[in-house]
Every structure is written in C-alpha cells, then in structure tokens.
C-alpha cells in the first residue's frame, strides 16, 4: 500500500460513503475512529520500511503515480499528517454536539484529503489546483440550505479561485528561474505573481473582506472549520515555496514585506474586531489576525521563526474549536448573534458565553491561556528587530482583548436577582469544559505540546536547519 492511498484516497472514499448515512452519531463515530486511526498511523508507521508480522510483511511506500505526476508522502511529512488528522478528530468529535456532523464530516473529510493531496503533489505547484477543488467542495458546507448564497460565500469563491492562476503561472516562471537564476526581471515577475497568488489564498490585507462576511452568514462551526483548515494548509504550502526556492528566501525586501503585511493584518483585524457588534464577525477578524501572526513568524526567519510558526498551531486550533462551538450554541438562542442580544446571558448560557470570552482572550495572547506562549515569542522576536512593530502588534492584541471585554460585559450585565441556570446540553457542557481546561493547561504548561511539533521542522529541509 502507498502512503498517499492511506492518507488521501481512503479518506476520500470514506467521505463518499459517509454521505449515504443519516445518523449523526454513527457518522461521527466512524469518522472519528477513522481519522484517529490515520493520526495514530502517521505517528507510528514507518514509510518505505518493511514491517514483518510473522509470515506477513507490510510496506508503506511513499509515492503514488497519477497521470504522469506523483503524490509523495515521505517520513518527514508524517508529523504534519498526524497534526492535521489529529486536529480533524477534534473538529469531528465536537460536531454532533451542535448537530453539524452530517454536513461537516463527509465534506470535511473530503476537503481534508484534498488539502493533504495538495501538500503531497509533485511538482508542488499543482497544489493550487487541488486547493481549488477543496474550495469547491466547501461551498455546500458553507451555504445554509434554503438560503441564497451570501456575499461572503461568493467572494470566498472568487478570491480563492483567482489565487489558482497566479500560483500556477508563477510555477512556470519558477522553472525558468531555476534554469537562469541571474535573470532579475524574471525573479521580479515571479515574486509578484507568487505574492498575488498567496494574497488571495491566505486572504491577506486587503483581500480579506469575505472572512467577516462569511462568519456572519454561515454556521459558525462549519465556518470555523473552513477558516482553520484553509489558512493552515495555505501557510504550510507557502512555507514549502520559501523552503524550495533559495532565490525567494534571498530577496532582500522579503522580511520587511512580510512584516508589513503581518502588522497590517494584525492591527486592522484587531481594530475592526474591537468595534464589531456581530459576534461571528469578531471571530472572523480574530482569524485574520492569526494569519497575520503566522506571516509575522515567517518574517522572523530561521529556525526561531519556524518554531514559533508551529507553536501557533495547537492554541489556534483549540481556540477556534471552542469559539465556533460556543458561537453555534449561542446562535441557537439568538440567530442574529449581535452583542445586545446576549445581554445578561451568562446566567442562562454560562458555558457558551464563557467559551466566547475565553477563546477570544486566548487568541488575543492573554497570559495564562494557550495563546500566550507563542504570542510572547512573537513579541520577543519582533522586539529584537523593531520596537515600533511590536507596539503596533500590541495595539492589535489589545484591540482583540477589548472586544473580549465587550462580550464579557454584555453577557454579564444581567438584571438584579436573575437566576443562574445552564441551558447547554450535557455534551456541550462537557466539551466546552474540556476546551476551557485545555486552553488553561496549555497556557500554564506549553511544553506539553512540544512532542507534537519537534519533528515538524524536518519537513522543511532549508528552513528547518
């Protein structure tokens, strides 16, 4: 068997089969068991090494040929696969609690497999096409049944589709640069095309207008999943570019361009989040900020930048799961999801409202929560190069913190004598409580997730050195 068959084609087949099942719990059970098995397999199975069990031998080969090109998942990719499928287990396990399992799991599994294929395809520039396929698969997931597609969904489709031609065409230019590395004109053109491609793909400033629109229109849980998996894979894809092309890493202004873009995203995302009245839009701007922080970590360069980039992964995943779960619960009570509608609701929905605030605070880099250690590392790294950049980034963080305070004040302003109760279901309470605990424990003991990302830098042969 080949590794791409196990981690790409099998999930695609299962995704198709899961569409035939109606029972949410059965779907979740099968999908969680399967993705957990994939996570475990990525953690323990060796690639290109024969394993002997008695008379039976088994070897997982690294490549799979398709139409003259190859899908390759080598030993270096295993930890990334474990991290991606491990996170997907969490998203899928929580989905039945908000009755999102049927829609999210089958399509979500297909999207995940397509995006893993995007990371595995060689030449890796073809990934743009596979990412586009994943975008098309996510449309039914993001559109509410019986409603016209909103502006956010249409813009999501347009911007993600426009990324593909830029990246594909830059691939052709890159081949030319490999043959003639001293052609500065070609380097410049390729850099512009790659930049535009990634600006669309990562929803970089000013192409991020669709994110808050989408978080306002669509189901918070599904939108949370999509806005977690797409930027994550696109960022790894971008790092692959940087790792592969020396001339790209050597562009003198690359660091300052990345810093400027990152700061713009963090500051604009934070400031806009601070003045939102829609709870979903606040999450949307926080996600924009997270992409900005990831870009800032890349601008730090070297192994330090790469390590901080990887450190952001787990806190972001956890915070987004908690935030989108809490938002989905609150949407059941108040479909408009605006701030004034949740006045005093902490006494009726204590877990959900706490989830909104805690996840927001974690992404704002609040001390004692999971987001703090990576954010502190970013501030430290940026401070060594420019103090003004740190001040701008802190303004962004403080603005997101301010939005959390607004949500907290609104939800806590209950009338005198209001009784405490909890209308969340038992499963929702347990899942949110586990989420709170995880956010807190990762803030206190960030070293617990070290084993998850110590092997990851191996993927990048140049950046990880």
């Amino acid at each position: 068997m080949s590794a791409p068959f196990l981690w790409i084609f099998l999930p695609l087949i299962l995704a198709g089969l899961l569409m035939l099942i109606r029972n949410q719990k059965v779907i979740a059970l099968i999908a969680c068991s399967f993705t957990f098995f994939l996570t475990l397999a990525a953690w323990v199975l060796p690639i290109d090494t024969a394993m002997i069990f008695g008379n039976w031998s088994f070897k997982l080969t690294s490549s799979f040929e398709i139409l003259g090109r190859r899908l390759v998942l080598g030993s270096a990719d295993l930890s990334l696969l474990a991290l991606i499928y491990g996170s997907v287990v969490v998203w899928f396990a929580v989905a039945p609690a908000v009755k999102a399992a049927r829609r999210l799991i089958s399509l979500g599994l297909a999207i995940t497999a397509s995006l893993v294929a995007a990371l595995a395809v060689e030449p890796f520039l073809y990934a743009a096409l596979l990412i586009e396929m994943a975008v098309l698969l996510s449309i039914p997931l993001l559109s509410a049944p019986g409603q016209k597609p909103g502006k956010g969904l249409i813009r999501f489709l347009i911007f993600q589709t426009l990324a593909m031609p830029f990246i594909l065409f830059s691939g052709w230019l890159l081949a030319g640069i490999d043959a003639n590395p001293n052609d500065l004109g070609l380097v410049q053109q390729a850099a512009i095309l790659i930049g535009l491609g990634f600006a669309f793909l990562l929803a970089v400033f000013p192409f991020y207008s669709w994110i808050p629109l989408l978080t306002e229109e669509s189901s918070p849980y599904t939108v949370g999943f999509i806005l977690w998996i797409f930027p994550t894979v696109a960022l790894f894809f971008g790092l692959g570019f940087l790792d592969h092309y020396t001339w790209l890493r050597d562009i003198p202004i690359l660091g300052s361009v990345l810093t400027t873009v990152g700061v713009l995203m963090v500051v604009s995302g934070g400031l806009l989040a601070a003045f939102q009245r829609h709870l979903g839009r606040i999450m949307g701007y926080a996600i924009i900020m997270e992409t900005g922080f990831s870009i800032l970590t890349i601008s730090l360069g070297g192994t330090v930048g790469l390590n901080v980039f990887l450190m952001l992964f787990v806190p972001r995943t956890l915070s987004l799961v908690v935030w989108s779960l809490a938002l989905t619960i609150m949407k059941g009570y108040s479909p408009r999801l605006i701030l004034k509608d949740i006045k005093g609701q902490v006494r009726i929905w204590p877990f959900a409202t706490s989830g909104l605030v805690l996840a927001n605070l974690a992404l704002a880099g609040m001390p004692l929560l999971a987001g703090f250690p990576p954010h502190q590392a970013i501030w430290e790294g940026l401070a060594s190069t420019s103090l003004s950049v740190v001040i701008w980034v802190l303004i962004g963080n403080l603005s997101l913190f301010f939005s959390a305070v607004r949500v907290m004040l609104a939800s806590a302003s209950a009338p005198e004598g209001a009784h405490w109760e909890s209308r969340e279901t038992g499963a929702q309470r347990i899942l949110l409580a586990i989420g709170f605990l995880a956010l807190l424990l990762l803030g206190l003991f960030p070293q617990w997730v070290l084993p998850l990302w110590t092997k990851l830098p191996v993927i990048f042969t140049h950046l990880g050195q």
């Binding site: 096409l129 409603q147 347009i158 589709t161 065409f169």
Partner: protein
C-alpha cells in the same frame, strides 16, 4: 491560413465575452459561453494536440449544459440583476477599456511568451472581461460565468507553457466543479428548510 483562423477565433472570443457582459437573458448567456469554448478550443489547439485541446471544448460544453439545466429549474423572478450598474452603455464602455488595456499588455506578452498576437490578446481579453463581469455583478449565475471566462482566458495562456495531462484533467475538473457550484447556487432558494 492558420493566422486568419486564429484571428477569427479571437473575434469570436471578443464577441462572446462582450455579449456575456451585456446579456440579460440566461439562454443567451449559455449560448454565448458555449460559443466562447469553440474559440478557446481553437486557440488552445495551436499548442496542444487536438485530442487534448478538445477536452476544453467538451468540458466547457458540459459546464454549459449543467448551468442550462439548473437555470431551467429556477424561478424566472430570480433572474433580475440587482447590482449596480446595469446600463449597457456603461458595460460597453468598460469593455472597450478592457480591450485597449489587454491589447497593450498582449503586445508584451506575445513577445515574452513567444505567442502569436491573437492568442495572447484573446487570452488576456477573456481574463479581463471575466474580471469585469466579477466586478460588476453579484448574481451567482453571472459570477460563475465570470469565473469560467477568467479561467478560460488563463487556460489559453497556460496551454502555451504547460502540457501536462494531470493539469488538463484538474483544470477540467475545476471548470466542471464551478459549473456544479453555479447549479447548486441556482437551486438553493428552492431547497426546503429542514
């Protein structure tokens, strides 16, 4: 002779893309898009074997069929364009600007990519017209037409530099996926709420 045919294909691409911008009846839209794929097929086959270039034609027509069938089942009241601006004169004027801009760009592109002018101009014109369509309309059907037009223009240019079967297959899948997405968008208001 080939050059004349290339120019004829370019004129068809120009006429259909401007027509797509101006049309208000979806039947005309589908017809124009289907005709546009004929010109795309011709411009692509100058770099690819006819058998591979015909994939573009077949895929394009399949996409048209999918969109046409979806439109047939749609409430006619939804067809009205709600976005600004609706004026045909304005659209013609902006199409003229796109034509002029893409002509200037195609002169450089044709020498850079070693392409004949009708191919370079045809592809950039389709990209420009598609982007214009995306910029002035928010109606899902028109957005899908715009995206298919942008991709068609890109595919002509990309065919000159890349002839991989996998890329051809994936681009066809993306085109069909976009058409299916369009069909899904068109069918959405009729789906009953669970």
């Amino acid at each position: 002779m080939i050059t004349i045919l290339n120019w004829i294909a370019f004129v068809i691409a120009l006429a259909t893309s401007v027509g797509l911008l101006l049309q208000r009846d979806w039947r005309w839209g589908i017809g124009l898009l289907a005709t546009q794929y004929l010109s795309i097929f011709w411009l692509v086959q100058t770099h690819w074997p006819v058998s591979m270039a015909s994939v573009k034609l077949v895929t394009g027509w399949m996409a048209c069929a999918v969109l046409g069938i979806a439109q047939l089942n749609t409430d006619p009241a939804q067809e009205t364009e709600a976005s600004w601006p609706q004026g045909r004169l304005f659209r013609l004027f902006t199409a003229g600007i796109i034509m002029a801009t893409t002509f200037a760009l195609s002169l450089r592109a044709s020498s850079w990519l070693v392409l004949s002018l009708p191919i370079a101009w045809g592809s950039l014109l389709l990209v420009g017209m598609g982007l214009l369509q995306l910029g002035i309309s928010a109606q899902p059907f028109r957005v899908i037409l715009g995206l298919l037009t942008v991709l068609a223009g890109f595919e002509i240019l990309y065919a000159a530099v890349e002839s991989s079967i996998l890329v051809a297959a994936l681009l066809s899948a993306v085109n069909l996926g976009l058409a299916l997405t369009g069909a899904y968008f068109l069918s959405m208001p009729q789906v009953e709420k669970p």
